[in-house]
Each structure stands twice: as structure tokens, then as C-alpha cells.
């Protein structure tokens, strides 16, 4: 089977998955206790005004009908109107999501190369002091809660030294470098959280291959240690590494609400939490759908990456 067909098939499957997830999201929001009209209008609202609002929001229609009309809107990018301020959901989410993507990209650009490089180095110096120190350090960082890491970084890099701002407040007029400086600490926090996982997988994937006959062959051809690892083991280890990288990238987009809170960064995570507490269900649904799409896209990218690094699939017989 050629690569293009595999990719198309995966893409199709991704779309089906997204459809199923959209139904799940809608269903889950339906299950939230309480009445939306009530929470929008407050305790003092009369039956008539509540009924009027329900009609206005279309809440009096049966759930499947509402799901389909929501889905039809979502397909063309119309996620409805926020219940809080009546502005279109796409507008509310737009800048927030852009901020989150910016921060995630920032963290990823640092974390992925660092993790893979460290993984290769610890594989090369496996079972030495360096290997153990690197493992302990990254494990410590992954085991500490994000908010704790965030506050520690604020304490040392902001409060005590004043090198970086402790609050990652961003606005439109900022220059790119200003932006990088403002968001450095939250990005670093996220780097610390994801590096360990990727590094350990790189190390494990490489070491797993070291018993292969072709690695022994490389040694018997006189290749030095670093060449054996980078030229002979790493090219065969990409598939598991890519998969873990994709998982962590997805986490950078969807799992960073605590970091946003600590650094007061206006990302989508905070928006989602606010929307849930205020029962702004169009925003909740849109956020969840975006998260789901992120996961599916990144996994798709990982699959494609695995295929492209496998010569058996790239060059069939």
C-alpha cells in the first residue's frame, strides 16, 4: 500500500473519530446538572422570562435536533454565541487559542530537541553517573506539579533575580521578542514537565535496539560509539519516539491550565475552566472540540511520521 493511501485512510478515520467525540461532548454537556436559563438569568427570573430565553437559545427543541444544528454550524466554523457576552464563540476563543498555540509552540521548540538530544546522550553514556543524574533530574521535574514548578521558577528567576517577568501578560502591540521574554517562564515550566517523558522514551527506544545484529555489525565495522547510536540505532528508533513526542505536544496544548493560572496567561485552558463554572456551554463545546481535534491531528502526524521513517513502508518491494 502506498503512503498516500495510508495517510488518506488515517485522515478519514480521524474525521470519524472527531464526529464520535463531538457527540460525546454534546452529550456530556447535556448531562451537566442545573438549568442553563436559570444560571444565565439568576434566581430572580420569572417562569415567563426563563421560557422566553429557552426559546431564544433553542433549548426547547429536542437534543438530537440541537446537536445536529450545532454540528452543522461547527463544520463551517460557527460555534454559536457565548451566553455570557453574546459575542460569537469563534471570536471569544480565537485569540485565546492563538495564545495557547504560541506558548505550546514556544515550549515545544525548546523541549523536543533538548529531550531527543539528551535521550541520545544518555543512551550513549548509559549506566554512567551522567545517565543517572539526567534521569533523576528529569524525573523530579516530571513528578512535581506544574504550579509548584511554576512558583519555584518565579521565585528564582523573577522575584530573586528579576530576570524575567512573573506575570505573562500579553497584548497586541508587543514585539515578538518582548512576547518571548514575557512568556519565557511559563514556557520553561512546560518544558520541564514534558522533557522527561520524551527523553526517557528516546533512551529506551535506542537501548532496545542495541542488541540487534545490525548494531553488532556496526561495531564490528569499527564505527565509534556515537556513530553507532546516531547513525545505526536512532534511525530505527523514530517510530516510538515520534509517538511520545506527539502525545506530549498534545499535552502542551490541552493540559496546561495550571500553568496559565500561575502566570496569569490568557490561554484557552483558563477560558474553558471559566466557561464550565459559568455554564457557557457553546464555549465549552467549542473548546472540547478543538482539544479533540488537536489530539487527533497530532496522532495523525505521528502516524505519518512513523510511516515516513520506516523504509519498509516508504520503499515497498
Amino acid at each position: 500500500m502506498d503512503v498516500a493511501r495510508i495517510v488518506l485512510m488515517r485522515l478519514g478515520l480521524g474525521l470519524v473519530t472527531l464526529l464520535v467525540i463531538s457527540a460525546l461532548i454534546f452529550g456530556a454537556v447535556e448531562l451537566l446538572p442545573g438549568d442553563i436559563a436559570q444560571s444565565v438569568l439568576g434566581q430572580g427570573a420569572t417562569e415567563e422570562t426563563l421560557a422566553a430565553l429557552r426559546t431564544e437559545l433553542g433549548l426547547d427543541r429536542p437534543a438530537p435536533v440541537r446537536y445536529l444544528s450545532w454540528l452543522a454550524g461547527a463544520v463551517v466554523g460557527d460555534f454559536g454565541v457565548s451566553l455570557l457576552n453574546q459575542s460569537p464563540v469563534a471570536e471569544v476563543i480565537g485569540t485565546r487559542f492563538a495564545n495557547t498555540l504560541f506558548l505550546a509552540t514556544y515550549a515545544a521548540i525548546i523541549a523536543v530537541p533538548v529531550a531527543i538530544l539528551l535521550g541520545v546522550i544518555v543512551a550513549l553514556f548509559r549506566n554512567t553517573i551522567f545517565d543517572r543524574v539526567a534521569n533523576i533530574a528529569t524525573l523530579t521535574s516530571i513528578s512535581s506539579p506544574e504550579f509548584f514548578l511554576g512558583y519555584i521558577l518565579i521565585l528564582y528567576f523573577s522575584v530573586k533575580t528579576g530576570w524575567f517577568p512573573s506575570i505573562a501578560k500579553v497584548s497586541d502591540g508587543m514585539s515578538f521578542f518582548e512576547l518571548l521574554e514575557r512568556t519565557f517562564l511559563p514556557a520553561l515550566t512546560m518544558v520541564l514537565v514534558v522533557v522527561a517523558h520524551m527523553m526517557r522514551m528516546t533512551r529506551a527506544a535506542i537501548i532496545n535496539l542495541l542488541a540487534s545484529p545490525y548494531i553488532e555489525m556496526a561495531r564490528l565495522k569499527g564505527a565509534p560509539g556515537w556513530k553507532v547510536i546516531t547513525l545505526h540505532a536512532l534511525p530505527n528508533a523514530w517510530a516510538p519516539i515520534i509517538n511520545v513526542v506527539a502525545l506530549n505536544l498534545a499535552y502542551l496544548v490541552t493540559g496546561v491550565v495550571l500553568v496559565e493560572v500561575v502566570f496569569v496567561y490568557p490561554g484557552i485552558g483558563q477560558l474553558l475552566v471559566d466557561a464550565v463554572t459559568k455554564r457557557d456551554f457553546p464555549v465549552v463545546q467549542a473548546c472540547c472540540l478543538i482539544f479533540a481535534a488537536t489530539f487527533i491531528l497530532l496522532n495523525l502526524a505521528a502516524d505519518i511520521g512513523s510511516i515516513l521513517t520506516n523504509p519498509r513502508l516508504r520503499h515497498p518491494k
Binding site: M217, G222, H315, K317
Partner: protein, 548 residues
């Protein structure tokens, strides 16, 4: 091979230790070895003899978990056991090269052949990349690889096993080393492919006057390749002599026993005049997806008889077995068992139908669950098919262990990894017997075993056949095995039966041309066998003869 030069390698009192069960123990006990420039030494012995370990030690290399604990390895004036690791490494690939047993596993799947070929010369600055590529193509040509200017740009999985083995020999030559270690380079190949590789290796070693250590367990192969033969047993040298006198006049008993291994031959049984065959395969077709792998196969197997199915890899031997057992439902034709037609898929067969046909596998290592005790492995089918429980079950398992000549009191509670290869294969046989079958498929059951052990297994299978009146379908690519155990022979090629009949007829001319090719490709002890054969066939068309 005559112009032997100066001393190149001198190994004295080499001792190697392996680490197991938290202690070091010696596996090579003081072996001496000398090799002159241009000389080829054959190292032979069974598995565990230390052949590969000594071969690697000649490169100053010990596998993980092994160490050179004593003695000296002097290569061209450099003492490898005391010099630095960096010095040793610089010899590898440049002055001493290695050709591994399985080229398919030893080529890196991620890189093209030619990139792997040029790695060492470029690394050692012996040649520039482009020069090295040119050189690779020339070597491919000399080794008679097809399309030598293009084949290097393929990935290992796109090239056949025999071709890969030659490409690996070319790679070993890339820096024009003084010495090459060939570690069973043809063991994984079919006989017809083996000849091409043997001829190619011999030619190129002669052309460049390269010294070589040729490791193998196949005497007939080593007879073609080596000037001198050294026989090893459990890490000790048994004897050493030049090839001619070693073959004619082996001194030690162990060597004589090795020479005599192929002598087991039981008398051939004739097919009963009437009676329904146990297995009747008629016009069988099968495919993997769109690829047709079996095309109109028919043969019968009678009770108490052995039908050997022979052919090269890819000829459909194992697929036929998979169809008979119902693992791969055929796309056409019928399989009858004692006259009764079997459903195509095992899912639709009755328990009794399943019970009567059992299998014994090639790799006893992977066919036995390492975490289950021998007694339970054998007991499981006795319980499942025979409904035995408690003491009855235990008695049955003990009886089966007795049948395969393993002491029940010792083996019942042991785990497969504690057993030797031959013992594991015996357990595989007992597991098949536990179902009380009438028909057993033996899929290359001896090809992973040493010759002496293999002979023991063949004798056991023969005795069991007599005692229990079993019908065997014996899948093999080894014609020596066919000679010793078969009553009838089915020769397969590319999914078709090309010839079949009683063994005595099949081994006498005239043959079908393909049978002839298979038969004449089996190496013989005569050291001139390969040269004579190549002359007969005409050197230039070996490749064509084998691949047509």
C-alpha cells in the same frame, strides 16, 4: 589457495569467560590458532563449541556478557588483548572484517546497501565516497550480483537473502582487509542459493588473497572453502589438520562421529496396496491476499509412512501444512482425512478432527511457552483432547516423557529455558503425541539443531512411527534428512508440485530438472565438489540456474 604468506594472526591459549547466574565461567579453554596471509581456516563444531566467540576474539571483540580472560591474540604484530579499545576499533572494518550469519538481520534496515558499504572506507579515509561507491559496484559485479550498478541503492528488505549475503561479503571487502571472519554465512540459505554464495566468497577471497576464518557446522561446506580445518568441542580444540587429510583420515573419535552423522538411514516402506490414505490432498489452491501461493497440489499420506515435502523457501511447503491444519483455509481443492472431507477452516472442524492432526515446529525455542512447566505443556493437550485429570493426567505425561527419553522425575517440573535445543524439540514431540494423533506434520524440525542432536530426533521420530503407526508429513529443505527418513518425496517449487514418488525412485536419475538442481546443490565432502560442479554448470550461469 597455495601461496600462503607470512604469519598474520597468532592466538595462544585463548580463554574467554561468560557471565551468567552472577558469576563468570569459562567457555573457551585455552585455544591456539595461527593463520597466515591468504590462508582460509575452517572452524567447525556444534553449537556451544565456541566457534563464533573465537572468531570475534580474533577481532579483539567480545559480545556483551563475555570477556577475554586470558591468553594472547596477536594480529600482524599488535597484541589485541592489551592494546586500547580505540586501537582495536580502528582495526575493525579496515583490516579485519566480519560477515554475519544472517545478512538480512545484520544490514541496518534504515539505510541503503551502498551507504552501509561506503561507511567504513569513508570513515577510515581510505576512499572518498564516490570512489567507494564505484568500488562497491565493481565488487557487486565480481560477486555476480544482478544489476550491480543499481542494486546498492536498494534497502535491505528489497533484496533477497542470497543477494544480501553477497552484498555483505562485498561490504567486508570495502577496505580490502587482511582478514575476514565468515560466521556461518550460508547457514540461513537454501542449497541452491548457498552454492552461489560459496562460489562468490571463494573467488573473491582468492582474488584479493585475503585470509579468512570460516565458521560453520557443515562439514561439506567447510571442505569446499578451507585450507585448514580446526574442530572444536565445548570450547576446546579437538584436532587440526589440512582439509585433505582431515577428511580422509580424522584422528579423534569426536571428529569421526561428526563425519559419520549422515549415515542414519532407515529402510524404506512401500505404500500399502489398498486402504484409504490418512491424508488425501487433492487439487489444493491457496493464496495470501491476491498472491497465489499454492497451485493445484495433490498428494496422499498413508498410515505408518513418511512423506517428505522438499523445496526452497517460498516454495509453499509450510503453506501446504497450514492448509491441512486449517489455519489457512484453501481457496480450492479438498483435504480428506481417512476418506472424510475436512472443513476448510479449523474453526469448523470437530475436536476429534483437530486431535488427529498435530504439528511439531522448527523453532522449539519459540514454540514452547517459556513460563510454563514441561509437565503442563505436555499435559495440556492430554487434558483438552483426552479429558484426563489428576493422577491419570500425571501418569499420561510421565508415559509421554518416557517415550521421548526424558526422565519424568527430572523434567516434569522444569521450564523450557532450562533445556537444551534437542530436549526442547523432544518436548515439542511429546506435546504433539499427547493428543494421541494419527498424523503429525514435522515442519523443519531438525534444521535448527546440530547434526548429532538432529540424528537423535530423527531416530526418535522413526521409533515412534513404528510404535504408534503414525503418518508423517516431513517438511524440510535438507535432502540429507529426506534420504534418511522419507518413504515418499514431494518436490515443490513456487507453489507447484514438480515431481513426486517413492524415495528410491526419486533419488535415482532421471530427475525432473529442478529435482536435479536441488540434489546436485547439496554440498558433498569431496573438497573438489564445488569446483567440479561449477565447471559442469558453467560458472556464469549459476545464478540463472538457481533463480530460474
Amino acid at each position: 589457495m597455495a601461496n600462503k604468506g607470512n604469519l598474520l594472526l597468532e592466538i595462544e591459549d585463548l580463554r574467554i569467560e561468560a557471565y551468567a547466574d552472577e558469576k563468570w565461567f569459562e567457555i573457551v579453554h585455552g585455544v591456539d590458532l595461527t593463520l597466515r596471509r591468504g590462508e582460509v581456516m575452517g572452524l567447525i563444531g556444534e553449537s556451544g563449541a565456541g566457534k563464533s566467540t573465537i572468531g570475534l576474539a580474533a577481532m579483539g571483540f567480545a559480545r556483551d556478557g563475555c570477556r577475554i580472560s586470558g591468553g594472547s591474540v596477536e594480529f600482524d604484530g599488535l597484541e589485541l588483548t592489551t592494546t586500547s579499545e580505540a586501537d582495536r576499533r580502528r582495526l575493525r572494518g579496515s583490516r579485519i572484517a566480519y560477515v554475519a550469519q544472517s545478512a538480512a538481520a545484520s544490514f541496518n534496515p534504515a539505510h541503503k546497501l551502498i551507504d552501509q558499504h561506503t561507511e567504513s572506507p569513508v570513515h577510515y579515509r581510505i576512499r572518498k565516497r564516490m570512489e567507494s561507491q564505484e568500488d562497491a559496484m565493481e565488487l557487486y559485479q565480481r560477486l555476480r550480483l544482478p544489476t550491480p550498478r543499481e542494486i546498492g541503492f536498494r534497502y535491505p528488505h528489497q533484496v533477497s537473502g542470497g543477494q544480501l549475503q553477497r552484498a555483505m561479503t562485498a561490504m567486508a571487502m570495502s577496505c580490502r582487509p587482511d582478514m575476514i571472519i565468515f560466521d556461518e554465512p550460508t547457514t540461513a540459505l537454501d542449497v541452491t542459493t548457498q552454492i552461489e554464495v560459496l562460489a562468490a566468497i571463494r573467488d573473491i577471497v582468492n582474488q584479493f588473497n585475503t585470509a579468512a576464518i570460516y565458521i560453520t557446522h557443515d562439514l561439506a561446506v567447510v571442505a569446499q572453502m578451507a585450507d585448514v580445518i580446526k574442530v572444536l568441542l565445548k570450547g576446546d580444540e579437538v584436532e587440526e589438520a589440512d582439509t585433505e587429510s582431515m577428511l580422509k583420515n580424522p584422528k579423534e573419535d569426536y571428529t569421526k562421529s561428526l563425519w559419520a552423522v549422515r549415515s542414519f538411514q532407515r529402510s524404506q516402506k512401500q505404500r500399502p496396496g489398498d486402504g484409504v490414505p490418512v491424508v488425501e490432498v487433492a487439487n489444493l489452491d491457496a493464496s495470501y491476499g491476491p498472491v497465489k501461493v499454492l497451485d493445484d497440489i495433490s498428494f496422499d499420506i498413508h498410515a505408518g509412512m513418511t512423506v517428505a515435502v522438499v523445496g526452497e523457501s517460498g516454495s509453499g511447503k509450510s503453506t501446504a501444512a497450514r492448509c491441512i491444519t486449517g489455519l489457512l483455509p484453501p481457496t480450492g481443492g479438498t483435504i480428506r482425512f481417512k476418506g472424510q472431507e475436512l472443513p476448510p477452516s479449523y474453526l469448523n472442524r470437530s475436536k476429534d478432527q483437530l486431535r488427529q492432526a498435530q504439528m511439531i515446529y522448527q523453532m522449539a525455542d519459540t514454540a514452547l511457552n517459556p513460563k510454563i512447566r514441561i509437565g503442563n505443556i505436555i499435559g495440556r493437550p492430554a487434558e483438552f483432547y483426552g479429558g484426563l485429570k489428576g493422577t491419570n493426567l500425571k501418569n499420561r505425561v510421565d508415559e509421554l516423557l518416557d517415550m521421548i527419553e526424558l526422565d519424568p522425575s527430572k523434567f516434569y517440573a522444569r521450564y523450557p529455558p532450562e533445556l537444551s535445543g534437542g530436549q526442547k524439540q523432544r518436548v515439542g514431540i511429546a506435546r504433539a503425541l499427547a493428543a494421541d494423533p494419527t498424523f503429525i506434520i514435522c515442519d523443519e524440525v531438525t534444521s535448527a539443531l546440530d547434526q548429532l542432536v538432529a540424528e537423535g530426533i530423527l531416530k526418535l521420530l522413526d521409533r515412534l512411527q513404528k510404535d504408534l503407526d503414525l503418518a508423517y508429513m516431513f517438511i524440510t529443505h535438507d535432502l540429507a534428512t529426506v534420504r534418511s527418513i522419507a518413504d515418499e518425496v514431494v518436490v515443490m517449487k513456487q507453489g507447484k508440485v514438480v515431481e513426486q514418488g517413492p524415495k528410491d525412485v526419486m533419488f535415482k536419475p532421471p530427475h525432473h530438472p529442478y529435482t536435479d538442481l536441488l540434489l546436485s546443490s547439496v554440498p558433498e565432502m569431496d573438497p573438489n565438489w564445488l569446483s567440479t560442479l561449477l565447471e559442469e554448470r558453467g560458472v556464469d550461469n549459476i545464478g540463472e540456474a538457481a533463480s530460474s
